[in-house]
Amino acid sequence: MSDSPVLHGSNKRQRYESLVDQLYQDVFRYALWVCKNQPMAEDLVQETFLRAWRSLDSLENDKAAKAWLFTILRRENARQYERYRPELVDIEGQSIADAGDQEPDQRMERQLLLSAIKRLDQEYREPLLLQVIGGFSGKEIAEIMDLNNNTVMTRLFRARSKLKQDFGVDAEEVD
């Protein structure tokens, strides 16, 4: 199971602040992959937490908070943008690959990996990102995506197989 936040505080406001504090980074990272555009990702995160605040009382199990937020985000994204969004110019991909202090070789490697992830079909990319960014188990991903567990595990396997093939991991020596 993904790292479970402990929502501190006895009242709704305190629980919400604890939710933001512990999870907004992961939610933003996932939103950025989904939107490929920072302003839109920030808006999507804002809408996600707005809806979370409004229905926070319905969250009975704090351990499910992260999966709950990601589910809200996916629904909100589908509701707001997915049907209508034109193909975006991916201006954020470059910044994802360039983030941090890196040697040119490392930067190139990240860009290659980023390109390989983007080339994955959405049905493979989505569970992979939920696992890598959200830290979700196969069962949690199955619930978020409304799929069965075997389907999720197969898609994760295929996603990594394709990445290895594209990224050349199978051919290289591992340190």
């Binding site: 933001v20 555009n37 707001q80 943008y81 941090g100 980023l114 197969t154 396997f157 990594r160």
Partner: protein, 252 residues
């Protein structure tokens, strides 16, 4: 267990490889290499995934949400729809009286019905309008995000100049009236929130005013579609019309 099954179980979750697989790999270097390569790739994936961080300003905005929501006088949903039905009757009366006074050929029944749907749509977004007017919704959309939304209705604003004094607080692709694709912006002006809607078609072929007990506005047919500007009844929209009409471009 054959190698394909082994690979499948490793690659589906390299961070949680079960003991059975680890035991099998301990006595088989080829299987161990599969695990090592999978973990190697996964560490690169994690590193890439963690490479970006959210801006601090986003956290601050998220923490403001409860205050904004608590300070918002939001009518119960049922009341909103009651307001709408009452408003729709007033709209019909207002259009009919307006036509009688002007003596001009007025909008068709279909166009009047379309005007009603526009007003209905505004009540769906009443919470956002109220929040902007109360100063509780302070976010501001940039031009890339604005034009992403505008693209839904085949339109765009060529310059962001107009929004330097009228920040866009809300931007959403929507269906004001099925099947017309629409874009809905709410801008904050000195007089309060104003709705700017564009439709990728021309459900209305002649300009006419719409309004009810709360809203007042105009539907403007243009070459590429319809532009709709609606504000609260007490707002004077004349000063904004030219700006939006002149800077709006139709791209399809």
């Amino acid at each position: 267990m054959d190698e394909i099954e082994f690979r499948k179980r490793v690659d589906s979750d390299p961070d949680n490889i079960d003991q059975e697989l680890l035991n099998a790999a301990a006595s088989n270097p080829e299987l161990q290499a599969i695990i090592d390569r999978s973990r190697h790739l996964n560490s690169k994936l994690h590193s890439l995934a963690q490479a970006t961080t959210a801006p601090e300003s986003l956290k601050a905005r998220l923490l403001e949400i409860p205050e904004q929501e608590d300070g918002q006088a939001r009518p119960p949903r049922r009341a909103v729809f009651f307001q709408y039905y009452a408003a729709a009757a007033c709209l019909l009366l207002a259009v009919a009286v307006g036509l009688l006074m002007s003596g001009e050929q007025g909008p068709t029944a279909g166009e009047i019905a379309f005007g009603e749907q526009v007003i209905e749509h505004l009540y769906h977004e009443a919470a956002e309008l109220d929040a902007i007017n109360a100063g509780n919704l302070q976010r501001s959309f940039g031009m890339p995000a604005i034009n992403q939304v505008m693209a839904n209705s085949g339109s765009r604003f060529g310059s962001g100049e107009i929004f330097s004094t009228m920040p866009v607080r809300y931007a959403n692709p929507c269906l004001v009236a099925n099947p017309y694709n629409s874009s809905h912006l709410i801008v904050q002006t000195e007089q309060g929130a104003i709705n700017i809607l564009t439709i990728d078609n021309s459900p209305v072929s002649q300009e006419f005013s719409i309004g009810d007990e709360r809203f007042s506005g105009i539907i403007i047919p243009m070459n590429g579609g319809n532009l709709i500007i609606v504000g609260e009844k007490n707002q004077n929209l004349d000063g904004y019309r030219n700006s939006f009409e002149n800077q709006l471009e139709w791209i399809i």
